[in-house]
Every structure is written in C-alpha cells, then in structure tokens.
Point group: C2
Chain length 236, copies 2
C-alpha cells in the first residue's frame, strides 16, 4: 500500500463551479489537470511509447483503474495533452506587424510543436474543436488576423485548414531519417530522382548560423512561402 504522497505538478484547477447534491470529498488524488501534467511529463521522459495507462498511474501513485474515474479512455488523455500543446503555439504575431510575418511565426512554431508530438497528429486532425478550449482560442486569434488582413470571410477557414494540413504533413518530415531518399541499389533505374536528391543535398547553404537548415526546413520554407504568396493574391 503506497502512501499517498506524490502530488506531481498538479495545477489544482478546482476553481469555483462545482455544487453537487451530496458529499464532495476534497482529498481527491486525481484530476484532469494532474493527469495532463503527468502525461506530458511521461511523454517528455519516455516518448509516446512510454505513455501507457499503467505508467501514468504509476507516476501518479495510483491504480490504473482509478484513472477511469476522470477520463473515459486513453484517447481522452491524448486529447488533454493535445489541447495543452496548442497553448504553446505562437500566435503573438497576429497582434501587430504584417499578416505575412504573423503567419510565418505561427506556422513555424505550430510545426515545431507537433514535430515533437507526431503521434498526436492523427488525433488532432479529426478532433472537434468543441472539446478543446485552447485549440479554439488559437483559431479565434488566427481568424481575426486573417480577417483584419483583408481576407474574404468565406476563404478564411479553408485557408487556415490548408495551412494546417501543410503544417501537419511537414511535422512528420522533421522526424524522417536523413537518408530517407537514398535509392540504394535502385539508383540506376531512377536517374532523374537520384540526381535531384543529390543536388538538393548539396545546396545546403544556410543563411546564418545553421538554423533551419535541415532538408525538412528547406521544404517547409519553400512550401510556406508559396502558400503565403498564393494566398496574398486572393485577399485584398
């Protein structure tokens, strides 16, 4: 019998609204905020393979089944984590400066966040925003930014969705092995592709420092700038 000590970085968000009819024990060991924090900690330490209900329970000093009093399923835990990550996406650019720069800041940070959490991409891409307050907050800010920039109302959502799709796909790229395009023994039968791969690997001249110089970064920059330019003509 483990003594209840733990108390992981729990945020104790037991704000106000909560009046049930009968007994409301205050010594709850678990809550959603605590589960979210523990899940994030677990992912940081062991990656997503390490994120199991058993490991989560162990970190919280609790039996695995206890989690199900606060969360309906493991999918539910993923949603908590995912929504939290959305608050890490930088939308500050939409407060001032040009629309182009705001989109750049937003898109790069969005990609960077999910490049480190690719297992969440299949989850988020299908997630109704209703269940995700932080996600909704991000959309509001971005929508306002697009609107202020003169985007026609009916194009705002499609444009954001297109950008997001590009961002999610690009997040996977970041995690791809460096030699992903090594054609190996088939090189002889794919001359154009092999030449293109070699040539793209050579042109690795990074502006300054060696930041954003990985192949995935080059492709992301190219696509992002194309999208920004392409959208630029459809607004105003």
């Amino acid at each position: 019998m483990p003594t209840v000590s733990a108390a992981q970085g729990r945020t104790t968000s037991s704000g106000a609204a909560q009046k049930r009819r009968a007994g409301r024990p205050s010594a709850a060991v678990l809550d959603k905020a605590g589960i979210t924090a523990a899940a994030l900690e677990l992912v940081r330490r062991k990656g997503y393979e390490g994120l199991t209900m058993a490991a989560l329970a162990r970190l919280l000093d609790v039996a695995p089944s206890a989690l199900y009093n606060h969360v309906a399923s493991k999918q539910d835990v993923l949603l908590l984590v995912e929504d939290h990550l959305m608050s890490l996406v930088d939308v500050s650019g939409f407060g001032g400066g040009t629309w182009e720069d705001a989109v750049r800041t937003w898109a790069w940070s969005y990609r960077d966040v999910f490049a480190e959490h690719t297992p969440l991409i299949p989850v988020i891409a299908v997630l109704p925003v209703t269940d995700a307050p932080q996600t909704l907050a991000m959309y509001e800010t971005v929508s306002k930014g697009f609107s202020d920039a003169g985007f026609p109302q009916e194009r705002i959502v499609p444009a954001i969705v297109a950008l997001e799709s590009f961002i999610f796909g690009s997040a996977y790229d970041v995690t791809a092995p460096e030699d992903i395009f090594d054609s190996g023994s088939m090189a002889a039968s794919t001359p154009h592709f092999t030449a293109a791969v070699r040539s793209s690997a050579e042109g690795q001249d990074v502006p300054a420092g060696q930041e954003r110089g990985r192949p995935a970064d080059t492709a992301f920059r190219l696509g992002l700038e194309a999208l920004i330019a392409g959208f630029g003509t459809t607004r105003a």
Copy 2:
C-alpha cells in the same frame, strides 16, 4: 487441422532470380505478394482495426506465426500495403500536357488514395524509399516531370516534399467529421472564428455536379492552387 486449400488471390511472383544452395520446396503456401493481397482485402472489408496478424493468418488459412517466415513484423505488412497503394497514384499527367495539370492530377489522386488509408500516413512519411519500389517509381516520374518543366535541379526534391506534406495533411481532413468546427457553447467567446466558419459553410456553391464540393475539397483546392502558383514563379 485445416486442409490446405485456400489459394487467395495470390500472384505467385516467384519469377526467376532465386538460386539457393540446397532444397527449395515449391509448395510454399505463403509469399509476400499473397500477404499483401490478403492484407488489402482485409483492409477493404474491415478497415485497419480489422488488420491483425491473426485475421491475416486466418484469411490465408495459416497459423499466425507462419507469417513471420516472410515478414519481420506487422509494420512490414503495412509497408507492403503502402507500397502497393503508390501504384494507384495517377502520374500519367506527366507524360504530356502542362506541368500545372500534371501536378493537379497527381496531387488529387494521391490525396484520394491516402484519404482512404490514413493509418498508413505515419508509416509512409518516415519510410525510406529504398524499401519501396513503387514509391521510388512514382518519385522518378514526378522528378522527371518537374525537371522537364524547367524546375531548378536543387528545388525539385523540396518542392515535391512540400507538396506531399500538404497532401498527407489534407488526406486527414477528408476523414474529419463535418461538424469539426462547431464551437458549441464557446461560440460567444470566439466571434471571428464562428463567423468565418458559418460563412465558409454557406459558400458551398459547387461548379457542376456536386463533385469535390466538401469542405475538405475546397481547402485542398485552395492550398494546391496556391502552391502551384507559388512554385510557378520559382521555376522558368
């Protein structure tokens, strides 16, 4: 004891090259082509949740462990399926006509194929092309198309990667629920976003028939045309 009868749509690709030193039994019940075909059949009938090693073995009238004589893991089976799907992507446009139209044909069919196989996206995005002949063949055709269209050699791969990223992300969109952007009770606190969502839902005037008229299609078209336009300026 099940009598060995089965013989599912196996392609018996035991071509030529294969000279080992000793006994080479010909009555092999299993081979990679057969496993691939069975896996595809299973996915078609039951989806990816239904694709288990046990189900695969049952369909092939074999014990589950027998599969491991031909395949190293379930991941390996997914790779076989994925590479097969690549042959369904339409690259015929690169044979003639404009570069723009070729890219359109390719991108739409690419997205459509993987919209029905989203569980493969995390697999393919990280898959070295070495192990995937069909994938490599597609890259060769597309690379040549870009090269012929006047693309600078070192930009070909990044451009293809950017397009693919957009395509993969967009494939997820297709499977998203229709009400994914329903802000629900939070609508009041997200006025710009809510208005944009409503407005995009109204502008659902589809050119002819009701083809390609889903929200996911609108976003995909918008992004794809922006990418094509954006890339158009960097070549030539």
